[in-house]
């Protein structure tokens, strides 16, 4: 791989051991990909926090060890300097306020907070959400980023028109210290054209419908780049957030185009560029229904846990849930957790939404989610969620049964204790 003089100096250790380890990882990674060079990035979103029981032992050696081994793939511990470029922490394992409800013990909760002091001191912004674009990290079109979190990557590429691959814990760790990432994949303009065509033959309107469409498309195209034809309703951030999270879960979609809506596709022709338009894949009522059925892995209608807010809720979603719960009380056998970034939680607190949700018996959680933390209320057997992504992962990770439906169906189930959702 071709390195600039500065990158070679980083590699040779002129700027310290940590940056040398970072460059070593980036070169091994770039060569594995077949990349010819690195590209400068000024926007890194990664996973740095120490928040799982498995990190405890390593953390006893200090947080330099945690970063060296897990974020740089270095066998030796090196002293971690201040990050070279703006960097944020994505979703983490522990809610700093509600850790006891999660079943986290006090020493582990303290470990995360100590870790955050270490990271903050080195310039890592503790946004602690899967949706940095909801709380101020909004890349501009064409900006080279190094982001983890598949639902954030697909949003960054498709809706914002910025450029990132799905990075990992180690590559973002190295990018933060060097401001470099392999110039490969979605960083190259010629790799950003659509190669699959989806004909959407039915109206796709609410959030649950966008989740189903995304889940269907991910299953059909895997890692390809779909362009959607036939979207008749203007989607908003909430719907595209869900759509992308679903497509990135069932497949590996990192970029899509909706001509007339997303920034790199003024038209279908522009979306495909030099690529030939393939035969369309049709999405009709039949596909919608089969996708819905595929997402249900529960048989028991008695639910005991409702998970809302994956990806993390916007303030509008918090307002809607508060509205649906106003004056109601959730079933005594049911736990309801609603997830939103901490910055948005503050607005929800101030707007009275948190009080309404907790008054009804629910909990507003931040910083984490049950799939990331692998933590649910004790004894949960059957869950319901408004997230196709969570319905995909949570049953596999935690061995629970899962229902998928609209936010309204989920809130109804929280109140009645019974799943009555329908398509």
């Amino acid at each position: 791989m071709q390195l600039s003089d500065f990158e070679q100096a980083l590699f040779d250790g002129v700027h310290g051991d940590a940056k040398a380890r970072a460059m070593d990882l980036l070169v091994r990674y770039g060569e594995a990909l077949g990349a010819e060079r690195l590209v400068e990035t000024n926007n890194v979103a990664g996973a740095f926090n120490a928040s799982t029981p498995s990190i405890r032992q390593l953390a006893e050696e200090g947080f330099d060890s945690v970063y060296s081994k897990l974020n740089l793939d270095s066998d030796d511990t090196v002293e971690i300097p201040h990050v070279a470029v703006p960097t944020c922490q994505l979703i983490t394992g522990i809610d700093n306020e509600n850790w006891a409800l999660q079943g986290v013990d006090a020493p582990l909760a303290k470990l995360q907070q100590e870790s955050e002091k270490f990271l903050g001191k080195r310039g890592i912004n503790l946004m602690c959400t899967c949706t940095p674009y909801q709380v101020g990290n909004v890349p501009v079109k064409g900006e080279h980023c190094a982001w983890m979190e598949s639902s954030a990557v697909i949003y960054c590429n498709s809706v914002l028109g910025a450029r990132t691959n799905v990075e990992g814990k180690e590559s973002t760790g190295a990018a933060a210290l060097t401001g470099r990432i392999p110039y490969w994949g979605y960083h190259l303009p010629e790799n950003r054209f659509a190669n699959r065509l989806i004909d959407v033959d039915i109206k796709v309107d609410d959030m649950a419908d966008w989740g189903l469409l995304g889940y269907f498309i991910g299953l059909q195209v895997e890692e390809d780049i779909p362009a959607l034809r036939g979207i008749t309703h203007q989607p908003d951030m909430i719907k595209l957030k869900h759509f992308g999270a679903a497509a990135a879960s069932s497949g590996g979609v990192e970029l899509y185009h909706i001509p007339g809506i997303t920034p790199e596709a003024g038209s279908l022709e522009q979306a495909f560029g030099p690529n030939r338009q393939p035969e369309p894949i049709r999405y009709t009522e039949v596909e919608r229904r089969s996708t819905y059925e595929r997402l249900q892995c529960a048989t028991d209608r008695k639910v005991d846990f409702i998970m809302l807010g994956c990806p993390h809720n916007s303030i509008e979603q918090m307002a809607l849930i508060a509205h649906l719960l106003e004056g109601k009380r959730i079933h005594r056998d049911v736990a309801l957790w609603v997830h939103t970034p901490r910055a948005i939680r503050q607005v929800a607190d101030r707007s009275g939404y948190t009080d309404i949700i907790s008054g009804a018996g629910g909990v507003v959680m931040s910083d984490t989610c049950p799939s990331i933390s692998r933590r649910l209320p004790k004894g949960v057997r059957v869950i319901a969620t408004d997230s196709a992504k969570q319905a995909h992962y949570l049953p596999a990770i935690t061995k629970v049964q899962g229902w998928y439906g609209s936010v309204g169906d989920c809130v109804d189930a929280a109140i009645s204790g019974e799943w009555a959702g329908t398509l």
Partner: protein, 147 residues
Amino acid sequence: MADDVRAATRTITISGRKVVGGRAAAEALVTRETISGWGGINERDGSIIELRHELVGQSFAGKVLVFPGAKGSSGWSAFFHMTRLNNVAPAAMIFTRMTTKVALGAVVTRVPAVTDCDVDPLDIIETGDWVEVDGDKGTVIVTKRMG
């Protein structure tokens, strides 16, 4: 090895491109389905946990994992990284579709890995075949399972 067994053995050599160097030889575990790292595998025993995956419940620990590539969460590399730390990593990886997830995952798992093969390894290699991987040369020698 008895002569009649040797006679029944069939060896095939596949050429590809180095992803990660090093050499390993082990039994193959083959799937035509992409694999999720985070949420798709148990990093403590190397088993596939994705409910609808054809390999659900089976472990790749110590096997040559032959698969199309990675899907799902960006935690892919971190989870395969942990299989190495927990001594349940695959012995080697052979895959057909390059992505950042699988490249970084192979790099930090530090096992020999090969891609861009001259024939589709998923057409040649079956679970149980004996597979020797030379990551530096990018070669894969497959000894077909008897019977």
